[in-house]
Structure formats: structure tokens, C-alpha cells
Symmetry: C2
Subunit: 151 residues, 2 copies
DNA sequence: TGCATATGGTTTGATATCGAACTATGTAGT
DNA sequence: ACTACATAGTTCGATATCAAACCATATGCA
């Protein structure tokens, strides 16, 4: 290993290390301000259904969230038991299901957004938004590369 | 909520969303190339002990990794059972313990670094290192703010 | 000297997550 | 039509993680 490799590894390692810790802390912060046991993955699914519309299959949602289908079975189970989504069999394909958000789910999603707004505001007041914007293309690129590498 | 708030929330949300997915995918990628059940948190502890030296208390390590002490109890238990660390009571303080890495732990840490080098190389060949370097200050800042906000 | 409080660590019960094995259904090719 | 393969979803057994309750030891203050 030459010097350049060492420095490269060092930089990459710090990058992933910071990202890992931020993901962890932000997830905790999210769940701390939530009520009624709403978790980040659950919110992500509800938000996804609101933004892109319902009538989605579990596998489509799993792909969008980049989690395994087993994980999605778990998350959807929680949401369904909470009454936040409605799951029905797919008419065309006997193996598949279709997921829609319910009114209760919409309310829960709006409450979640309201609950985290102050936290985001606190943070936004302390960092330069331009820097955040500027970091997005790299983050997106890395995310896509990792996704590509995985498959 | 005015328009600026909406855009701000959107940007922040994307930022944390990308970070969450990257953390997840990179953690999975790490564990996929590891052998013998080495996990990312376990490696992080070993690496920490090598870089900053042993004779650390569990709580010190937990703080450095930004996890709870209960989590660290768990991780150290795995490492100790694997023979990668040695834990002894603190002489001065009867409540505390002291942790050191073992030869086995050093070997495991070196193997882990070797195993992930190709992955890091693959990625490094596809992104601009300057961008990564440039993103580090923001990531560090956000991490510190979240940590501050938590306490 | 004692009692109240603080600190280090463990335990408990919940969550998410993965990979791999499994079931059921659909599709394609012979 | 049959057989082989592919796909959708579930289940299982492991991991990490948190918060909260708990225990033991230490410290500070009266």
C-alpha cells in the first residue's frame, strides 16, 4: 500500500464514518420527537405513498427504500396493524399485493412532518443551506454506485 | 408554512434520506465482504483501539462511537467472546472496566481493512475525491450539531 | 459518618435489518 | 401440457440499536 492509497482510504473511511453516525443520530432524533411509536421506516413508507401515490406492491416499495422484501413485510405489518395502510391482493397476479395509505395514515404522516419541523429548523439555522445543496450530487452519486455495486 | 420553509424542508429531507440509504448500503457492503461474522460496529471498536490505544473504558468507547452504553455492552460481549479484546476490572474504580485489543483482534482488524480495500478502490475510481474531501466539513458539522442537540 | 446523588455497566423489551430458506404463483420453452 | 425457472411474499435466526429500569460503586455535602 503506497501513501496515496493510505490517504485515499483514510478519506473514504472518514466519509462513511461520518455518514454512519449522522444516519444513526438523525434517526434517533426523529423517533424521539415522534408520538405513537411512529418510526423512521414507517414514516418513509407513508411519505412515499403520499408523494408517488398508492396502488404499489410491497416489492416496489422495498426497492424504493432500498431494503429487502423481508424487511418490508415487517414494516408493512406494523403500518397495517396501526391502520395506516390498507393491503389487498393484486387482482392480476396471485402472488402479489397492493398497498394504499388510509386517512389515518395521512394524518399520521402530516403529524410526523409537523413534529420534525422544529428540529429541521433548529439545524437549518446553524448550517449553510448552500453547502447542503452542494453536497447532494455527491451523496446521490455514491448512493447510486453502492446500489449498482450491490446488484 | 411558506414557500421557503417548504424548499428548506425538502432539501434537508433529501439530505438525510440520502445519508440514511448510504449508511445502510455501505454497512451491508462492508459485512458482505467480511469473514467470520465481523460486523461494522465490531470493526469500529477494534479500529478505535488500534488508533487511539487500549486501556479504555466501555463508556469512553461508547461515547466515541456515539452509541448507548447498553449497545456497547453488547458489542464488547461479541468481541470478547471472539477473543478480539481483553476486558479487565479497573483498579481504581470498582464500577468500571478497562478494554484492550488482543493479537487476535489486531489480526482481525487488519484482515477487515484488507477485505474492504477493493470495495473502497472500486468506489474511489468512480467519484471525485475532491468532492468527498469537500463534503467532510459539512458532514462533521452536522454530526456535531446532532450530537449537541441530543445532549 | 451518613445519606443523597451521580456514575459505570448490565439487563429487558421493543424496533429495524439482513441473508437464506421456504411457499405459492406465474411464465417460458420444449 | 409439462417441466424448469423466475418472481412475490413470508418466515427464521442472527445482528444492531434504543430507552428505561436496575444494580453496584463512588462522591459530595452536611
Amino acid at each position: 500500500m503506497n501513501e496515496a492509497d493510505g490517504k485515499l482510504g483514510e478519506t473514504m473511511f472518514r466519509f462513511f464514518n461520518e455518514i454512519g453516525i449522522i444516519a444513526q443520530l438523525s434517526g434517533n432524533a426523529f423517533e424521539k420527537v415522534m408520538i405513537g411509536g411512529m418510526t423512521l421506516p414507517q414514516f418513509s413508507v407513508l411519505n412515499h405513498l403520499v408523494r408517488l401515490g398508492g396502488n404499489r406492491t410491497p416489492l416496489q416499495i422495498a426497492r424504493a427504500m432500498q431494503v429487502t422484501k423481508g424487511t418490508m413485510t415487517n414494516t408493512l405489518g406494523h403500518l397495517e396493524r396501526a391502520g395506516h395502510i390498507a393491503v389487498r391482493p393484486d387482482e392480476r397476479d396471485g402472488r402479489s399485493k397492493r398497498v394504499d395509505i388510509t386517512d389515518s395514515g395521512r394524518v399520521a404522516r402530516d403529524q410526523a412532518i409537523a413534529a420534525m419541523a422544529p428540529e429541521l429548523g433548529w439545524l437549518a439555522a446553524r448550517i449553510r443551506m448552500d453547502d447542503v445543496e452542494a453536497s447532494l450530487p455527491l451523496l446521490e452519486q455514491v448512493r447510486k454506485l453502492l446500489d449498482e455495486r450491490r446488484n
